[in-house]
């Protein structure tokens, strides 16, 4: 089982994702350099698009990164059903690349926000959330200036119908309230997936809360889910 962490110029959570996969989960992981033209990413089982400020987030977050050479490969990989996890800036790249619906805007209060937040698992049947239960509340950090998710009403309804809303900001007890919404996202959306469920984008940072010493291990659930899914896929193939 092999993970790839895509590195764009300006990525800065690449090392954190790498560290979690390698040293916390003890799985194989490689950096994938943005200039690589990847015709075949078959060696990977899961690609992570990390957080940070690809190309400085100049113009729009994710807008320039999506034209990086490596993104062609990522798009093909996703279309073939490969698991793609976009975290924070990685989520923004997936939106700009059209792998996920919608767009990101500036946080409602216009400020960068960094703190622990709570999200509710709305769909626990995905490869990314198998180890969670429906309605489970995760304590997980956010750190972004542009996390105000927008999508038009029609698409939103379709997404709901398809169970594409994966995480929503909530309070400690799981209530989805306006107060718990840190950035103004429509419907408190914190994470979504594509129709097939193999591409997940989320603003909160699971890689920042996968070890006890950092104050929460809820982020590990996401990675554990991926591993479990991949393992079972291997099992099934046998």
């Amino acid at each position: 089982m092999k993970f790839g962490v895509v590195v764009f110029p300006g990525s800065n959570c690449d090392v954190d994702c790498y560290n979690v996969v390698k040293n916390v989960l003890n799985k194989d992981v490689n950096y994938v350099w943005h200039k690589e033209r990847l015709n075949d990413l078959d060696e990977y089982d899961c690609l992570i698009l990390p957080g940070g400020f690809s190309y400085g987030d100049y113009l729009r977050p994710g807008a320039i990164a999506r034209f990086a050479n490596a993104m062609q490969g990522v798009i093909e990989f996703a279309n073939k059903g490969g698991l793609v996890l976009g975290i924070c800036n990685g989520f923004q790249v997936l939106l700009e690349a059209g792998l996920l619906p919608g767009a990101m805007q500036r946080n409602k209060n216009l400020k960068f926000r960094c703190h622990y937040s709570f999200i509710r698992v709305e769909n626990s049947k995905l490869p990314f959330t198998l180890e969670c239960s429906e309605g489970q509340v995760l304590k997980i950090p956010i750190a972004h200036g542009d996390g105000n998710y927008f999508v038009d009403e029609e698409t939103l309804q379709q997404m709901k119908a398809n169970d594409q809303i994966v995480f929503r900001y909530c309070d400690e007890d799981g209530n989805v309230t306006e107060q718990a919404n840190p950035n103004g996202s429509i419907d408190n959306i914190a994470g979504i997936c594509n129709k097939k469920g193999n591409v997940l984008g989320m603003m909160p940072h699971p890689e920042r809360c996968a070890e006890d010493v950092l104050g929460s291990t809820h982020g590990k659930l996401i990675f554990d889910s991926i591993i479990k899914y991949l393992e079972s896929r291997v099992e099934n193939a046998r």
Binding site: L59, G102, A103, Q105, R106, K108, N109, F150, D152
Partner: protein, 82 residues
């Protein structure tokens, strides 16, 4: 040399957090009559292309691909000789 002025604006119906904040700042600074503020981008591109038509085509492509996000933004541009 051509000078291209590109205006990128938020689509109707898309909330504008920056515009809203600026409007309320203006109001609280005592400016009266400010009914609405929408904030977009203004870009100036120096283009070394002969022929406006070709340029216009190229600029349209730039906008569609990179300069504007079609999910939330519209764009418009003007080309002048300099």
């Amino acid at each position: 040399m051509l000078l291209v002025k590109v205006y990128v604006t938020l689509k109707k119906g898309v909330l504008d957090p920056k515009g809203t904040a600026v409007k309320s700042s203006l109001n609280s600074m005592g400016f009266e009559g400010v009914e609405d503020v929408r904030i977009g981008k203004y870009m100036e591109i120096k283009l070394n292309i002969d022929g406006r038509e070709e340029a216009a085509e190229k600029v349209k492509e730039m906008c569609d691909k990179l300069l504007a996000n079609p999910v939330i933004e519209d764009y418009d541009f003007e080309i002048t000789e300099v």
